[in-house]
């Protein structure tokens, strides 16, 4: 056996110091006049609006399915899910494809994708109350960014409700 293998045994002397504040990146999307953030780690893809094939007997917010490079992906209207008015398709309309743990890829229809922001963990405040409104349950935290507030979407809540 080769003795040079022993070099591996050389101890790594110092542990890499962790950064003082953990940060999370969010993609900021627009729905009507409001801004929402989606954790970038969940996002698989952002695609332009394309033809959506309707699936009968589905809840109203489930717009149908699209073909994303050979894969059939359900598309959910974020607006209808949040209790806003029906989508109007413009050249800014995008489908955000999100990878959910249980259900695989799911697309979300949004009015516009604006930017990517980096939020420090201590700029994110969790919301615990669960008011009657449906949309609140989908928002689990609010992030502060340049004096603006961004509602952070809880994707797991959306996915759970799908079932």
């Amino acid at each position: 056996m080769d003795l040079s293998l022993l070099n591996v045994n050389q101890a790594i002397s110092s542990e890499e110091s962790k950064r003082a504040v953990e940060t999370i990146q969010f993609i900021v999307i627009r729905l009507g006049d409001e801004q929402y953030g989606i954790d970038i780690r969940h996002i698989d893809n952002i695609v332009r609006m394309q033809h959506i094939t309707r699936v009968p007997k589905m809840p109203i917010y489930l717009k149908g399915v699209i073909n994303l490079r050979g894969e059939v992906i359900p598309v959910i209207s974020m607006r209808l899910k949040m209790g806003l008015a029906e989508d109007e398709f413009t050249k800014n309309t995008r489908i955000i494809v999100v990878k959910l743990e249980q259900e695989g890829n799911v697309g979300f229809l949004v009015d516009e994708v604006k930017e990517v922001v980096t939020l420090a963990v201590n700029d994110i405040e969790k919301i615990n109350y669960n008011a009657n409104e449906e949309m609140v349950s989908l928002i689990n935290a609010v992030g502060k960014h340049n004096e603006e507030l961004i509602s952070l979407v809880d994707l797991n809540a959306i996915s759970l409700e799908g079932n």
Binding site: M1, L5, L6, N9, P56, I66, N67, G70, G104, N163
Partner: protein, 703 residues
């Protein structure tokens, strides 16, 4: 080295050997003198033992070892094959199968020692008088070869640090040996054998050099020999003995190392061991800058990675994937097709860049070419997924034999078409349904010996299992020459159970009555036996087959026997479908469900019990307006004639009213994903040529 990487091969081969043993022992039972059979059994048992030993499954090894002993005596003619012996052997096979199942799920063989079985085996051996010869003969200890020129270990290229370690050790009074190990040519798992040798040697000393390197040995990148340089306190003979005790090792030779004899050892470097004082470590580090750790620690550290790997074997739960063994020819044809596909693509690219007159012609030509390539490619890929149903049906003769004993009925199973191929996913699933049907035939179908004699039937009941291909379907028939289905008994039972009323029963056709058998919790067995008759079975068979997009049919003549016919699609992934338009949406209806297409004038639509029906050549068929089911606006005017797709589910027919026909197309079935709660009449989706998605309608759910 980690043996878990061989687990898959091991499981595959073990199952193959077990199946082989089952078949051969059955043969042996029929012909106790068959010499070839006995030899074959012996071979399979021997391989099994060897493999179990290699993988470290001791209990399995012990059991197979004792079985092998019995076979040895049978082969040598010292024991005669007797029915009770066959029973014991079958029990052993069951126990081995249990081990294998345990290994598959937990990577461990379990704790069942099967002592009773081993004892029975030994009793068989004892009966012939002599004691069983120990198969594992302690290998003859070889004399340590005197190091001479031409020893393998003298040909190893040593680097400076290794030379230093050797010198250091020699100086400290340790012995440094060279060991050359040769593995038998027939050995399959060379790396695993080598691993065992490494392990055995490491128990007695430290391996400092391996040629080829340990990594290469592990990856099986060596021929049949490998050479080790070992630091040890024990005698070389003991190490040789340890290495040779590993099975399938042809020979091990060893001797003391003399650095002076090493062919690659430069004389200039030949510093006498005394020149390196054991204490002068700093000095050494200067001469050996590569080696960071102290030489004395080296051997121990060296051994560490191997031991760590060893642990992985016990802690890491291996995930054994389902595999398909693919004929290399099938892969070759795939490869060819893919290269043709690339050529076709390139021709298309060049055709599109040539914007001359006549380019259009070549474009069409290329498209045609592309089409033929993709069609062939599709066929080839499908073939790769196809496996013969043999793997499933092979276990049935044994099962029937056991049933025959248990039920005390004489019966024989005749099988044909074992080489019929089906998609792997289907083959995996049909085992249980077929088993149910066979048990059903054996238990309910075949009459007891007295009744058979009374009816003038042969004493031995026959059960047939026939498989054959029919168009795009594979048909599997389970047939028996037993009693057939007693329609009246079924009716009475159904009335007892409250499934139907006596009035309903009076109006039911025989076919409908037989259909009752497939209802959950329905069993006509007068008594519950442990073979069948628990009321689970036929409904499970039916739902299983239907989940595979297949169907079950029963034909039966009272007193003469019954036939159960299973029809399964060749593959599940790609089907022929009829593309239709409803409203402005496209849908696909699998051709298999479609009976005919009809053009019906609106005036022919009649109302029966407030349902719209048509009378088609004497058959009354209910209409289903797809636009209503699918919630879309129909484009057709009221007075236009209806386009009706007649679909069939079993004996039921229904007419699906659509707006427009597009045509027949081959579609690839895709799942809608887990997020969409399966809409019950949508079985999936497919992607059309233009990238759009069309949903696939499940006509069965609509009726």
């Amino acid at each position: 080295m980690d043996v878990s990487q061989y687990l898959e091969i091991f499981l595959d081969e073990t199952r193959e050997h077990l199946q082989n043993l089952n078949t051969q022992i059955l043969e042996l039972e029929a012909d106790p003198e068959g010499e070839d059979t006995i030899k074959e059994i012996f071979r399979a048992a021997h391989s099994l033992k060897g493999m179990a030993g290699t993988m470290g499954y001791k209990r399995m090894q012990n059991l197979t070892h004792d079985m092998e002993n019995v076979f040895t005596e049978v082969r040598n003619g010292n024991i005669k094959v007797r029915p009770d012996m066959i029973d014991v052997l079958f029990k052993c096979l069951d126990a081995l199968e249990e081990y294998t199942d345990n290994i598959q799920t937990t990577a461990d063989e379990g704790t069942n020692d099967n002592e009773a079985l081993i004892k029975q085996l030994n009793n068989i051996l004892d009966e012939k008088g002599g004691t069983a010869p120990k198969a594992a003969v302690v290998p003859e200890v070889k004399k340590a070869a005197v190091p001479e020129e031409g020893n393998r270990w003298d040909a190893i290229v040593l680097d400076d640090s290794q030379i230093n370690v050797i010198k250091e050790a020699q100086h400290m009074g340790k012995k440094v040996y060279g060991l050359n190990v040769t593995i038998q040519e027939s050995c399959i798992l060379k790396a695993a054998r080598a691993f065992l040798v490494f392990k055995a040697v490491e128990e007695r000393g430290e391996i400092i050099v391996s040629d080829p390197s340990a990594q290469d040995v592990e990856d099986e990148k060596f021929d049949r020999e490998f050479t080790l340089i070992i630091l040890s306190d024990v005698d070389i003979n003991e190490i040789i003995r340890a290495a040779e005790s590993v099975s399938e090792i042809e020979k091990a030779e060893g001797g003391l190392i003399d650095l002076g004899k090493n062919k690659h050892y430069k004389a200039g470097n030949d510093t006498v061991p005394a020149e390196i004082p054991a204490t002068s470590e700093p000095e050494q580090k200067e001469t050996v800058p590569v080696a960071a750790a102290e030489p004395a620690v080296k051997p121990a550290a060296q051994a560490a990675p191997v031991k760590a790997d060893n642990k992985k074997q016990t802690s890491g739960k291996p995930v054994v994937n389902r595999t398909v063994r693919v004929d290399i020819e099938k892969l070759d044809s795939l490869m060819n097709l893919v290269s043709e596909l690339i050529i076709a693509k390139n021709s298309l690219v060049s055709a599109s860049s040539q914007e001359q007159v006549g380019a259009h012609n070549s474009f069409d030509e290329q498209i045609e070419y592309l089409e033929s390539v993709t069609t062939n490619l599709h066929e080839s890929v499908m073939k790769v997924r196809m496996v013969p149903i043999e793997s499933v049906v092979n276990k049935f003769p044994r099962m029937i034999r056991d049933l025959s004993k248990k039920l005390d009925k004489k019966m024989e199973l005749y099988m044909t078409g074992e080489d019929t191929e089906l998609d792997r996913t289907v083959v995996d699933e049909i085992g249980d349904p077929l088993m149910h049907l066979l048990r059903n035939s054996a238990d309910h179908g075949l009459e007891s010996a007295e009744v058979r004699a009374e009816r003038g039937k042969p004493a031995v009941g026959s059960i047939f299992l026939d498989a054959y291909q029919e168009g795009n379907n594979v048909v599997i028939e389970v047939r028996d020459d037993g009693n057939g289905i007693d329609v009246e008994a079924v009716k009475n039972k159904a009335i007892d159970r409250g499934a139907i009323t006596p009035e309903q029963a009076a109006n039911m056709t025989d076919k409908e009555v037989i259909g009752l058998l497939f209802l959950p919790s329905f069993s006509t067995a007068k008594q519950v036996t442990d073979v069948s008759g628990r009321g689970v079975g036929l409904d499970v068979v039916k739902s299983k087959i239907e989940s595979l997009s297949g169907e079950v049919e029963v034909k039966s003549t009272l007193g003469e026997g019954s036939t159960w016919i299973i029809r399964l699609p060749l593959t599940l992934a790609i089907v022929q479908a009829l593309m239709v338009v409803v409203g402005n949406e496209k849908y696909a209806i699998p051709l298999g469900m479609i009976q005919t297409l009809e053009d019906i004038p609106p005036t022919d639509v009649k109302l029966v019990q407030n349902k719209e029906v048509i009378n088609l050549r004497g058959t009354v068929i209910p209409l289903i307006y797809l636009n209503e089911v699918l919630d879309v606006e129909s484009k057709k005017a009221e007075d236009e004639s209806l386009i009706v797709v007649i679909v069939k589910k079993g004996d039921q027919l229904a007419g699906l009213v659509i707006d427009e026909l597009i045509g027949q197309q081959e579609i690839v079935i895709k799942s809608l994903g887990k997020y969409i709660k399966q809409c019950k009449f949508i079985s999936g989706a497919t992607i059309l040529g233009d990238g759009e998605i069309a949903l696939i309608l499940d006509a069965n759910a609509l009726i």
